[in-house]
């Protein structure tokens, strides 16, 4: 089993474009029991990955409640780094 942060990044290598909710949906089955598996922590993890050039924003929208959802995809540099560091 991969560490949670690795699993989050690995999701993007295959070309997925995901928001925080998308990440939760994809990993819920395996990581639901993790105490760090929370929207706030996942959001920070995605933003840090963006800051370090691994991911980039691909889309954004406001839902009916006025909450912002930002979608991310991996950069070509990110695909290269994630693939080489996380097996």
């Amino acid at each position: 089993m991969l560490p949670l942060n690795y699993a989050i990044l690995k999701l993007f290598v295959s070309g997925n474009e995901l928001s925080v909710q998308g990440v939760i949906d994809k990993l819920d089955k395996d990581y639901r029991s993790f105490r760090a598996f929370k929207p706030k922590a996942i959001n920070e993890s995605l933003m840090s990955a963006e800051k370090n050039g691994l991911l980039e924003e691909s889309n954004w929208e406001l839902d009916d409640k006025g909450e912002l959802h930002v979608y991310y995809k991996a950069t070509s540099y990110g695909v290269e780094m994630i693939s080489s560091y996380i097996k």
Binding site: N5, F34, R35, K51, G53, L68
Partner: protein, 385 residues
């Protein structure tokens, strides 16, 4: 249209929250570093350390004026080895206790299994390498530089934010423009101003002094490499896990490999277990003041773990240039907290704060501001409003 303005504002607000949090964490890392150093002074200024450092009955001076007793445990050794042994022993105990704190924190937060998984992975191996470069290697280089060149080693080693920013730019393609470079230079100048109070007469042509400066640069390079690489690594590994790996590696290597090796070089390897045990001994309170090295080490270890963890996280959230500049405030926070803890609380001499250090702190804030924000854009915004 209304929706698109709302959307834009929501995105700006989200980025702004993330940015502010990153800056607060990075500045906090520098403050906690000051607490760690002050508590480390507390640990190594009590118990058996008093005799080893040759303080006698009272501590009358700060680190730079220490006179190390080169006949520790009755075994004569060279002054340099004696200084290195005490430095390695102190930082090794601190880092090892810090590792216990940080591993405990990952366990409490339910990340212990992830900690073990990360340790055995490629990014984990990179963290171990970073810990060795920034821990024992850079720290020992810093101690040697202090011996050879004196207190000027401190501001030289504080060139690490500049080195970290350059590495971040070249290796990780992070942003580094002319404005940010100017900001970094201002921060480095501020660090020199803070350190200048400890400058004593030195001979610029003395080969020992020049070699000391070169060794101080090694420590700056070590910390610069660590800050840039570990900051990036923290975008892959959770920061609490990163720092637990860092402290365990640095603590284990320094305390159980480097320190006994130094004792061996001094021909006093038998003294190692005795001094390791004695380093933690001491009365809890003396004259109503905390005097137990163990308790001081518990405080310094906790502060060090939190400080380095925030350093990694801040660098990952802000980029190496801004993160390390904010963290670089430690050159002010170290004398500040040492003044509070050692000067005011413990009543030791040699921990005064000078006006130039306050001025330098303000200069540093200007430098950090310049790295973080383009003043022209602020000006533009005001005009738009």
């Amino acid at each position: 249209m209304g929706n698109s303005i709302e959307l834009k504002q929501a995105r700006i607000a989200r980025r702004s929250r993330f940015f502010k949090k990153g800056v607060i964490i990075a500045v906090g890392s520098g403050m906690l570093y000051g607490v760690y150093v002050a508590a480390l002074y507390g640990a190594t200024g009590n118990g058996f350390w008093l005799d080893w450092y040759g303080y006698g009955d009272t501590v009358t001076a700060g680190w730079y004026d220490n006179v190390v007793d080169p006949t520790m445990g009755g075994i004569a050794m060279s002054f340099v080895i004696a200084v290195l042994i005490l430095g390695a022993l102190g930082s090794g105990i601190n880092d090892f206790i810090s590792a216990i704190w940080m591993i405990g924190k990952t366990a409490v937060k339910g990340k212990f299994m992830d900690y073990l998984r990360c340790f055995a992975s490629k990014p984990g191996a990179v963290m171990v390498l970073c810990a060795l470069i920034g821990g024992p290697i850079a720290s020992t280089a810093f101690l040697i530089a202090l011996i050879m060149a004196g207190p000027i080693a401190t501001p030289i080693s504080a060139l690490c934010p500049a080195i970290g920013a350059i590495i971040g730019r070249i290796v990780f393609k992070q942003q580094l423009n002319f404005r940010m470079a100017i900001g970094i230079v201002i921060c480095v100048v501020a660090t020199f101003m803070i350190g200048s109070t400890a400058f004593t007469g030195f001979e610029i042509t003395d080969p020992m002094f020049l070699a000391g400066l070169a060794v101080a640069l090694i420590s700056a390079l070590g910390w610069g490499i660590e800050g840039a690489i570990a900051g990036f690594g923290t975008s892959v590994i959770d920061y609490e896990i990163s720092i637990s790996i860092r402290q365990l590696t640095a603590g284990f290597f320094t305390l159980f490999i480097l320190t006994p090796a130094l004792f061996l070089m001094a021909g006093a390897v038998g003294l190692y277990p005795t001094m390791l045990f004695e380093a933690l001994q001491g009365q809890i309170m003396v004259d109503g003041l905390l005097a137990s090295p163990l308790v001081w080490f518990l405080i310094s270890g906790l502060a060090a773990g939190l400080s380095f963890g925030f350093w990694y996280k801040g660098n990952s959230m802000c980029g190496a240039a801004l993160g390390m500049a904010c963290n670089g405030g430690f050159s002010f926070w170290c004398p500040f907290f040492s003044f509070l803890v050692c000067g005011l609380y413990l009543g030791w001499e040699g921990f005064d704060l000078y006006p130039i250090q306050w001025v330098a702190a303000i200069v540093m804030v200007v430098g950090i501001f310049l790295i973080a924000v383009n003043p022209l854009e602020l000006f533009k915004k005001n005009r738009e409003v």
